[in-house]
């Protein structure tokens, strides 16, 4: 499964999501576009770090805009991947016009461990990069699974 194809798929699905504000969609689409464009950046570790940054920003903004659409608004100081994930694990996101179900606790723990913690480490610690392409693949596959999970619950 090629990463670019998956990114393009999410980009289009999000663009067709009924009721999301166009300006927000444009912002997130741009993030996905950047993610597709960094392929030529060198050296490799800088490119890989950029991929992590753009993917996380796209994910975080997607969660944010979906919550907004469900009438759940977080104040700026409360905005974080972990907090959004907690809300997606609660019944607040379930109902007509919202998701068909919440993200189950097992998946939540997986996303927490494999995305949120890794992301925080990379953002805040000097010298922290994905070690290899395999590392990056693994990280991206969990982000993609998280987005897929949201799409399947829509």
């Amino acid at each position: 499964m090629k990463r670019a194809e998956v990114v393009k798929t999410f980009r289009m699905l999000l663009g067709a999501y009924p009721g999301l504000p166009a300006a927000e969609i444009t912002r997130i689409t741009d993030e996905f576009n950047e993610l597709l464009r960094v392929a030529s950046v060198s050296p490799q570790r800088r490119r890989m770090l950029l991929e992590v940054v753009h993917a996380c920003r796209a994910l975080e903004s997607t969660l944010d805009v979906m919550l907004g659409h469900f009438g759940i608004v977080l104040s700026d100081k409360d905005k974080s991947l972990g907090k959004s994930l907690n809300i997606f694990n609660s019944s607040a996101v379930v109902g007509p016009g919202k998701l068909v179900d919440r993200i189950d606790s097992h998946a939540k723990a997986r996303y927490q461990d494999l995305v949120t913690k890794v992301r925080n480490n990379m953002m805040h610690r000097a010298g922290a990069y994905p070690h290899t392409e395999n590392d990056l693949d693994g990280f991206m596959s969990v982000i993609h699974a998280w987005l897929s999970h949201l799409m399947a619950l829509t």
């Binding site: 067709a16 068909v100 179900d101 799409m151 399947a152 829509t154």
Partner: protein
């Protein structure tokens, strides 16, 4: 349809200002051939493959699996452009809308239609049940390592092997997968050098089509299902993702199989 024809269809749609891609999402091993967007309308387009023309249930399984994984605002359509496939189209009538040419597909994509609310509600309810099952399988497979939900019920194992036999006229091999009953349950193995991915795809589609019956683009569960696992060592080595989806085979209908 070969890849050149698919590229031509994409090109046609692209030039007519439809947004079109070959989609891919992790929850589907092999999904729709195209994702087409026109304004707020998004379509997943299925183009029957040669293998599916001789076994339409594989196509139905591919569509059901995709409808469960894609958002409920996405609509499914089968596009058939070969003139000799009208007979095949008849067998699919009522499952999901069928278009018979590129122009027809474009017309369909430009129409303003909305799913009936009863259909949407049904789809949402079914997606909820499906995702809960996927959650349970994932949890079991991750906490115990790959697929280790053993098929403890010999009844289920027996039904599975009977099902495989019946479909393949006495031969126990179906789509390159052999079922062998062991003390722990049913053990599945690849029969040849055939790619594990291909086998996993076909078995997954076959099981989707026995678990879900498509009616007006909603995959309705065929009957109560049992949650029992199967072993598929060869496929587990191909990666957890396939193992997870392969595990869906676990849930065979209780009766009439």
């Amino acid at each position: 349809m070969d890849s050149k024809e698919l590229a031509r269809l994409k090109d046609h749609l692209d030039r007519a200002n439809f947004e079109v891609i070959s989609p891919s999402i992790p929850f589907v091993l092999e999904g729709p051939d195209l994702l087409v967007r026109h304004g707020q309308r998004a379509l997943i387009v299925f183009i029957p493959r040669k293998s599916e023309q001789s076994a339409p249930s594989l196509l139905a399984g591919r569509i059901s699996g995709s409808l469960l994984a894609y958002p409920s605002y996405v609509e499914a359509v089968i596009n058939i452009s070969e003139p000799d496939s009208s007979h095949f189209a008849l067998g699919l009538d009522g499952l999901v809308p069928v278009t018979t040419s590129t122009t027809d597909l474009m017309r369909f994509a430009s129409r303003r239609t909305e799913r009936k609310s009863s259909q949407s509600n049904d789809l949402r309810r079914i997606k909820q049940l499906h995702m809960r099952r996927v959650g349970r399988i994932t949890e079991a497979s991750e906490t115990r390592g790959a697929i280790s939900l053993k098929a403890t019920s010999s009844e289920v194992a027996f039904q599975m092997s009977a099902n495989l036999r019946a479909r393949n006229k006495g031969d126990r091999a179906l789509f390159g997968v052999r079922a062998a009953q062991t003390q722990e349950g049913l053990r599945l193995a690849l029969t040849s050098a055939r790619s594990a991915r291909r086998a996993a795809v076909e078995v997954t589609h076959a099981s989707y089509s026995s678990l879900y019956q498509l009616d007006n683009a909603v995959p309705y569960p065929t009957t109560n299902t049992v949650d029992k696992g199967l072993w598929a060592d060869d496929m587990i080595s191909e990666g957890r993702e396939y193992a997870l989806w392969f595990a869906l085979v676990h849930a065979l209908p209780k009766a009439n199989r």
